[in-house]
Subunit: 196 residues, 3 copies
């Protein structure tokens, strides 16, 4: 991050680099020049770019988006298993794929759905906790450790679920992934409480 | 808040243009004047107003809130179908509406619940992806296109689900609505990666 | 946008009060000194701290994190009921706890799962609506009332669900908790619409 140079030369900042309400930045090439919506904070970069300069937040976003993509992949897998096992949740789908007798449940489909639901129960709260935790100014190394542990053990949870790994593997992955979540929740509560 | 010292040393800045900790703005009529919690960014408007001046974020918030309201409406419809079909998920509810024999499942209720669950699987990740995507400074036109496609095809998805439209309509709406989500996920990953 | 006046007089700001890119703050003891990622906004505190100085947002975060912890507790209760009733969702879990005959459903487990799902349907949207609502600059007192009503009636909802309270209690708690959510949704839509 080469911010020091620009800070040093702030006395001579041309006003056009400090404009509020235009979006003629060099690092967002798709920017609409007439867009009057973005706050420049004195360094020629839009507000959004600065937002992402919170490295803990960047790190959180990186792992979160990967986890969201993982959830999308579970949805695709569920659809594929439905097609392969011919087990559809809706009669109109069954009708289209061979007949209403395929409007039925299937254990493999249900397994995918449980994996997906468990992700919703755990990854969605992480999307909230991780974002708020990033805002309270954690050490980057500590924050990264939280996010990485959650990411790795949620990946393991999904693999253990879909590949039917031996019994406590999935539960263990779930428990370990909860540790950084509870840690973040406690730290956020402490930060909010201390600000009161 | 011991900001006054540093504010005082900013000597040449007119205090009213950079006040930290008062909320006497003209554009939030509900503002509590004694509220010392809002950061003014030098232009007499609260931090929050500036946040919403990110037009891509505003646009995202607009469609997102409509989608959340849509999900609330599905919940209401589910309740109405439960009452009309007399199919309750809990014995205590059934007891209150005619007897424990109405503690049972019903295909129409299950259809509503699947529509609701599918929304959770797809709209909740959008709430995250869209917010983060708005922060990386997209073109307003491109961002609006992403949000609008998602919004329209999720609306179509719900209509197709609840009205039992012909078979590939619902699946098609799901797939098309996923396109802007995957696009946003990829762009956010690229933005985060390039900031490292 | 009349920022130019204040910007012109910024040459007299001591650089150390406006450093961008170092994180040597006194109020985040865990901060990594070499972390160049945090934006200081001229007052010696990191961006994140200022974020939490939005008291409505702080208040929202406080109740939200408590609700997330409540959801985690429901998950733990579900697991305990599964163990006590010997009713497992996966054959591999049943195998490990006495045999595949315990791969079965149980009404008490299903009750916990319904409570958890209802939380997902309602608390997750709150995590979004409350955050955005905090950003539009509500009165702290009004915002706190919104969050507190939601928090209290979602707690009541869970108690009513898990303890099988008499019939309309749970539904009533659900309805009352929806009131602040719909109110926030309407206010956010109004704020976004007025900014266009």
């Amino acid at each position: 991050m080469c911010v020091s140079e620009s800070v040093e030369s702030w006395c001579s900042i041309p006003l056009h680099t400090f404009q509020l309400g235009s979006m003629s930045t060099n690092n967002s090439p798709t920017a609409d020049v007439d867009n009057t919506a973005v706050l420049h904070l004195g360094i020629g970069r839009p507000y959004q770019t600065i937002m992402l300069e919170n490295e803990a937040f960047s790190c959180f976003v990186f792992y979160s988006v990967l986890l969201v993509i993982k959830m999308y992949i579970i949805a695709i897998i569920t659809g594929q298993v439905r097609l392969r096992k011919k087990a559809f949740a809706n009669p109109e789908d069954a009708q289209r794929h061979g007949g209403v007798q395929y409007y039925r449940e299937d254990p493999d489909v249900e397994r995918c759905r449980r994996a997906h639901r468990n992700d919703m129960e755990n990854i969605f709260p992480f999307l909230f906790l991780g974002a708020v935790y990033s805002l309270i100014g954690p050490s980057l190394a500590v924050a990264r450790a939280h996010f990485l542990v959650f990411f790795l053990f949620r990946m393991l949870h999904t693999v253990a679920y879909l590949c039917v790994l031996r019994a406590p593997t999935r539960s263990l992955a779930y428990v370990v992934a909860q540790v950084p979540c509870v840690s973040m929740a406690v730290q956020v509560l402490a930060a909010v409480a201390s600000s009161w």
